[in-house]
Symmetry: C2
Subunit: 406 residues, 2 copies
């Protein structure tokens, strides 16, 4: 088997942890598997480097920032190479230049384009463990780029796809994907399997241990993903096209307290109104999440949307600054809201799912602010103070804590 294993910054945060990861990889190697290891920078290295950069330039040019940050993963892979050597195993560390990890040109947020497999295959044939820098690439100018948030996961999935690996294991500090955040819902249960689409929704909803881009890429190339803990040998959760066991209606409950609601009321009911509103927000680089449009009084409409905490003040300011152009009556903003979502491929063929969720909330006397649905997801916006109660009630209503169910 060819296995790609990805370990994040926490897993390689100290020399001791690096040794632990090395041992774990060597175990699988000694079973006769070919091993490719993808690493992030050690611990808080990336943050430290950004801090260092700001000491000479409050707005460092992104090209130079990438040149700086890419040293972080190179330190990790070199250290891992030495650790494996100490265990008597032949290993070789490779950076973005050495595997020609081509990306788009955008510094700080590049997209992977293609990988030169030759060097890696050659080293694997030589029975070496291959250790690759995550998060980084090179662009057409022959400069370093970085892949943005979740970048190392994406590197791992891309390598697994390019090398036709049998599995891509993503090691984290949790041991899989749960039916809900165990800190909030004590009866939350680890899922054995989950579909790409469910994982994508969970990731978008902030409950994900995987970044969206890596899941999208895994789906596109059919890479079998496994989310596992680097701290224990528990089996983890497999992410794939279709789950093989009988399904529950839903896979999990996700909570996102990081959402605020903005409502623009009394917009003229005319074509282009929504376009103009979201155009000014897009130009201000504000990402909006759930959007809801409803009919207001007397030929007007109301548009509400959610966005992350950090953007909400700017969103309000931008809309106010464009009041004349947007032509609305009033603007309101509620920061004391949270998103609670249920996700599950099973709900597609089962129209009663949303109703069951609403019933659970009604039984708890929790008011619903906004509702948004997709084929495999129902999201409600509720008062932030209610969200723990809501999550537990929904988890209970769908019987997600029952281990025999899946």
């Amino acid at each position: 088997m060819l296995i790609v294993k990805k370990f994040g910054g926490t897993s390689v945060g100290t020399p001791e942890r690096i040794m632990n990861v090395a041992r774990r990889c060597v175990e699988d190697y000694n079973k006769g598997n070919d091993i490719v290891v993808v690493l992030s920078a050690m611990g808080k290295t990336t943050d430290d480097l950004i801090k260092l950069a700001h000491e000479v330039n409050p707005k460092p040019p992104k090209r130079e920032l990438d040149m700086l940050m890419t040293t972080g993963e190179q330190v990790s892979v070199a250290m891992m190479g030495m650790a494996m050597d100490a265990l008597g195993v032949r290993a070789v560390s490779l950076n973005a230049y050495q595997i020609a990890m081509h990306t788009t040109s955008t510094y700080g947020n590049a997209r992977l384009k293609r990988i030169d497999r030759e060097r890696i295959l050659h080293e694997l044939e030589d029975r070496k463990i291959v250790i690759v820098t995550g998060f980084q690439g090179i662009n057409k100018y022959d400069d370093y780029t970085t892949l943005g948030r979740g970048g190392s996961d994406t590197t791992a999935v891309a390598l697994a796809a390019a090398l036709h690996a049998d599995a891509c294991e993503i090691y984290t500090d949790v041991d899989g994907v749960y039916t809900a955040d165990p800190r909030i819902v004590p009866t939350a249960r680890k899922l054995k399997e989950i579909t790409y689409d469910e994982m994508l929704d969970l990731a978008t909803l902030g409950a994900g241990v995987l970044h969206n881009r890596s899941v999208e890429m895994a789906k596109k190339y059919g890479v079998k993903l496994v989310v596992r803990s680097s701290l224990n040998y528990s089996e983890g959760t497999m992410v794939k096209e279709e789950v093989t066991v009988e399904r529950m209606l839903i896979s999990g409950v996700a909570i996102d307290k990081n959402a605020d609601r903005v409502s623009v009321m009394g917009l003229k009911d005319r074509p282009g109104v929504a376009f103009r509103l979201f155009d000014v927000l897009a130009k201000a680089k504000i990402n909006v999440d759930v959007i809801l449009q409803s009919i207001g009084r007397e030929g007007t409409k109301d548009i509400s949307f959610t966005c992350e905490d950090e953007y909400v003040d700017e969103a309000v300011a931008v809309i106010e600054a464009n009041k004349a152009r947007l032509n609305y009556e009033s603007l309101s903003c509620d920061k004391n809201v949270a998103k609670v979502s249920i996700v599950g491929a099973g709900m597609m063929s089962n129209p009663g799912v949303a109703a069951k969720m609403f019933e659970a909330l009604y039984n708890e006397d929790i008011n619903i602010n906004m509702i948004s649905t997709s084929e495999i997801r129902v999201t409600v916006l509720i008062n932030e103070d209610d969200c723990e109660r809501a999550a537990n009630a929904i988890h209970e209503a769908f019987d997600l804590g029952r281990t025999h169910a899946m």
Copy 2:
């Protein structure tokens, strides 16, 4: 003018110092010059990285150690790029891959082979300051290598040669080459000019601010070297083929307290004796320095040599272990010795120079242990306790403190 400027680890040890170096480079850039900057790793970074490596592997493989260490210079150049951007100047940092700095294969101590000038010339034409990682290269396996001691100086000289630069300025924490170590000889004077050969001898004798390899390369390609201080605007010392002003007999006095003497007495006077002795030492990787062979009693010969403090115990052990094969009568070792040398292109045509040095020592009642000479150098081995007095007496005898002399 195209100027290559090299700054060592101390000069870029903190963000503040990086800003200072950036300002200094920008000054010359704003005069219309093309500037290429070569940097070492910040402060003690290289030592810290080696320490980190030893935490996972007491004998880290050299390939991985180079992979680790090369991150040090990359951090420096990226930081410098940001600092120059903060000063409103366009700059670009480049690593060994980006300038295709090809070296021999030996990790940890590679030799430069060739540089791809294209990228650098392109960036210079674009009126950018080009910032290059010193000390590192890539080998035929497409792996990182490092150049060993004085490596960044060598990078700077090689770039100056490849780009046909008008000057290669090496910035250090001293402001030039002195007639003697000013801490030992208070009347020591800074030299305005010195020849490559003199500089080479001074470097070998431990007094050098430049590493031998960089001076050798500068000599080979006729690169005009300037040794300057990064702390002030003093003119520094120019190293070139021939000095243009009238010469003193000698350029400087060098002291090396780091030398010990080993004497092997009563060796059979037969061909191959010296070969066998230095062969066992070479196989034990012990570098010997001054070698002296003299005729001993009754068909035997004595061989003495000096080597650095750190090797002397091993040298003695190795010789003793081979006593039967080497066939000598006795072995002695003296750690309380120092080398004092005078260096000067002027002495080639002046046979009285050595005598004048010996006279100065005689007047101070200092006993000479060993003597070794080259065309432009005389070295004596004396008691370590005498070496300050010796250096001052010689400096005085040759009138090196007189500023009008040169």
